[in-house]
Symmetry: C2
DNA sequence: TGGGGAATCACTCTTTTGGGGGAGGTCTAT
DNA sequence: ATAGACCTCCCCCAAAAGAGTGATTCCCCA
């Protein structure tokens, strides 16, 4: 049986074009919609295998759309299909559960590949997107250098981000309690924070450690 | 001029095969090595555009290899080429700065595509790898459900992970100081931690919030 | 050779946190 | 209606953390 596809895209012209394009290639388009407010109901009723989701639409955004679909029918594969390539929207989509992320400049051939890929459990992404995703993992030295942390300070910060108390850190590093505290004071100053909790939040979210 | 490629792979047979395969397709293999202890020097001297890097090798691992190469010559594109698809090794490679991650079952055609893709600033990944990467962004509800946190507790935890003090959280949420503390006590119990610092570390690294 | 940063440790003082209670209200499900 | 959750707030007390100040080494480098 053919792959069932639903399209959420507010540009009427593009939506129709996509629909025809897919139909000509033996896909079954089970619905095409200009907004995704009812996305949850739609996927429950029409049970698409794959959803192509735009981001910028009237009413609920495609980001919300992904959330709705993933809550309603988690195994539905959702491929974002958008012009946006800014980090903000990208990572919001990924966190919402998107299975792929294609830019609209993607060729039809690649679009078909992507649909196939996502059906096989992959995660199709446009090259620049994949790059952003991998870059988001880059860690360590960059952040530490940025804040000019010394080797010892980095070490203390690493223990801190594991949730260790000052006493425990001192014990682990074979240092006096006050020495660790001294390092921490310098760390807080360099990171522009006022307490260990902020330091942990900053260190982890900016991947300093 | 042809693309310059260096190969780090401890299996002699595979290494030779790869070398010939690449040479037959107009790539210039500037070196192939059975270990990556000297990777830093090698990339500095031979200036490859792309490096194919195995993980399991005698001496330094390929993960260390990526770090060395990225420190020595950051714009060198490194594609992991390995049989491993466990999360541990995968994310270590990505954090070390890998630009791509291919499983050894990848077809030669796809390998060439990947080299081209990484040269164009992309991030070639085998489908199952790409999937793991995207999955690592899935956040929120999953973790929160796992630890059975209530809506209010999640809200408090979110403020906490931003580094807010109890007093500030109370102020932000228009609650009494003791109410926030009460929520925190329950959060700590549910997360199996003993203090806010541990809670922040756990919440962020497990993407509970 | 003198300055400066890093690393080490010490003391005091105040504020913040965590752990232990308890208590009253709402809401839901049985 | 009764039990069990959340959510809300209160008290006490001890431990931990933060802020300020200062001192001693060691090593690098200008």
């Amino acid at each position: 049986m053919p792959t069932r596809i639903a399209i959420f895209e507010d540009n009427d012209r593009l939506r129709e074009t996509l629909t025809h394009l897919l139909q000509m290639n033996d896909y079954e388009v089970v619905g095409n919609y200009g907004r995704c407010d009812e996305a949850a109901t739609i996927v429950r009723v029409y049970k698409p295998d794959v959803v192509l989701m735009d981001i910028d639409m009237p009413g609920e955004s495609g980001i919300t759309g992904v959330k709705l679909i993933k809550e309603a029918r988690p195994h539905t594969a959702v491929i974002m299909y958008t012009v946006f390539e800014d980090d903000e929207k990208l990572f919001q989509c990924l966190c919402a559960g998107a299975n792929g992320y294609l830019l609209k400049k993607t060729s039809p051939a690649r679009l078909f590949d992507a649909i196939q890929e996502v059906l096989e459990g992959g995660a199709p992404m446009s090259p620049t997107i994949a790059r952003k995703v991998l870059l988001s993992f880059q860690s360590g030295a960059a952040g530490a250098k940025k804040y000019d942390l010394s080797a010892r300070e980095i070490e203390v910060l690493q223990w801190l981000t594991k949730g260790y108390s000052i006493k425990s850190i001192a014990s682990e590093m074979n240092l006096a309690f006050d020495t660790v505290r001294s390092h921490l004071k310098n760390i807080y100053r360099k990171l522009h924070v006022n307490c260990g909790k902020e330091a942990i939040a900053k260190a982890i979210s900016e991947r300093i450690v």
